[in-house]
């Protein structure tokens, strides 16, 4: 979402970067795109990055615009409790993705075994999951803004708000490789500068943020755009410093199996540090 604002406001052009955005369903697939060299930067969830790092892949989180988990467990209207999902098909985008981690976290928290008590189906993405749920092919899937609002408009129910469970997450995480940073640190830094300007513009210019996001997401519903803005503006960080705790929670959840990767290995704070040290972030907020 923030890159969309930054692009619409021409902050990347201002930094001398032409960005081509490609949508890929499911965070595991876009990690593959990064490691395969199809993309130089990705925006994905850390549940996809942790297993990649466990396998020795060169992935690193550089920034995030929000640290409060923004997930909801969306279910079909007949589901009143997590335990009602026993014996039913439930959706995730792809195995190992954020939606996989969140769903397993919820099922385990309410005493269900994700490997035995439900059948997990890959839907490919949140929109596809919503279509599958609407058609009765799955009974639950993790969704974020604005999909969970759209789902409720379509008659689905919000069963869990994960921010209430103390979950942290690197929302909109900007991820690249250490080798790309080594080769083109200036490019990554300029992308991050545009990203920070996008964060500030989102929070300070509501109408521009709503208009830009609505255009990108093809949403005309004013209530949906307003709710989306309210949710993210209230949690928007001033400096896009990633959360180590959020990564640790993913590792500790056990949903990705045994992980022996230190969360610190997955984060490079040096670029955010540089923007803070040089006064760039303060300067943006004074503009």
């Amino acid at each position: 979402m923030i890159p969309v604002i930054a692009k619409e406001a021409k902050y990347f052009e201002r930094e001398g970067i032409t960005v081509e955005y490609v949508r890929v369903g499911g965070s595991t697939r876009i990690v593959a795109a990064l490691l395969g060299g199809s993309a130089q930067i990705i925006h994905a969830g850390e549940p996809a990055v942790v297993p990649a790092a466990q396998r020795g892949a060169d992935v690193v989180i550089v920034a995030a615009f929000c640290n409060a988990a923004q997930h909801r467990l969306i279910v079909r209207p007949e589901i009143k409790d997590v335990r009602d999902l026993k014996g039913k098909p439930v959706g995730i985008t792809t195995f190992g993705s954020t939606s996989d981690y969140i769903l397993r976290f919820a099922l385990q928290k309410y005493g269900l075994d994700p490997n035995k008590d439900v059948s997990i189906l890959q839907t490919g993405g949140q929109p596809e999951g919503l279509a599958a749920m609407s058609a009765g092919k799955i009974f639950a899937q993790r969704m974020g803004f604005p999909f969970h609002l759209k789902a409720q408009q379509m008659g689905m129910r919000e069963l869990i708000d994960f921010s209430q469970l103390g979950l942290e997450e690197n929302i909109g995480a900007m991820i690249t490789t250490r080798s790309f940073i080594a080769q083109r640190r200036g490019t990554v830094l300029r992308y991050l500068r545009a990203y920070v300007r996008g964060m500030h513009r989102f929070k300070s210019d509501k109408e521009f943020a709503k208009k830009s996001y609505g255009k990108f997401a093809q949403i005309n519903d004013e209530a949906l755009l307003e709710a989306n803005w309210q949710e993210y503006a209230s949690h928007m960080l001033r400096s896009p410093r990633p959360t180590i705790r959020g990564i640790q929670q993913v590792i500790d959840s056990g949903t990705l199996g045994k992980v022996d990767v230190k969360p610190e290995r997955l984060v490079d704070f040096s670029l955010v540090d540089e923007l803070e040290r040089t006064g760039f972030i303060d300067a943006v907020y004074k503009e």
Binding site: M1, P3, E13, G16, I17, T18, V19, E20, Y21, V22, R23, V24, G25, G26, S27, I30, A33, L34, S38, A39, Q40, I41, I42, H43, A44, G45, T93, G124, G125, Q126, P127, E128, G129, L130, A131, G144, P146, F147, K150, R184, T187, R190, Y191, F216, A217, Q218, I219
Partner: protein, 40 residues
């Protein structure tokens, strides 16, 4: 006539500079997962 000629030279110079500016832009590909709710 002289003024028109100067204006033309200025315009051409600006165009060349603009082209150089565009060529100097770095291109990167960025992937993300989010998609419009209607997309599926």
């Amino acid at each position: 006539m002289k003024t028109a000629f100067c204006a033309l030279i200025c315009f051409l110079s600006a165009s060349i500079l603009l082209d150089k500016e565009l060529i100097a832009q770095e291109r990167i590909t960025v992937c993300f997962t989010q998609a419009p709710p209607e997309a599926g």
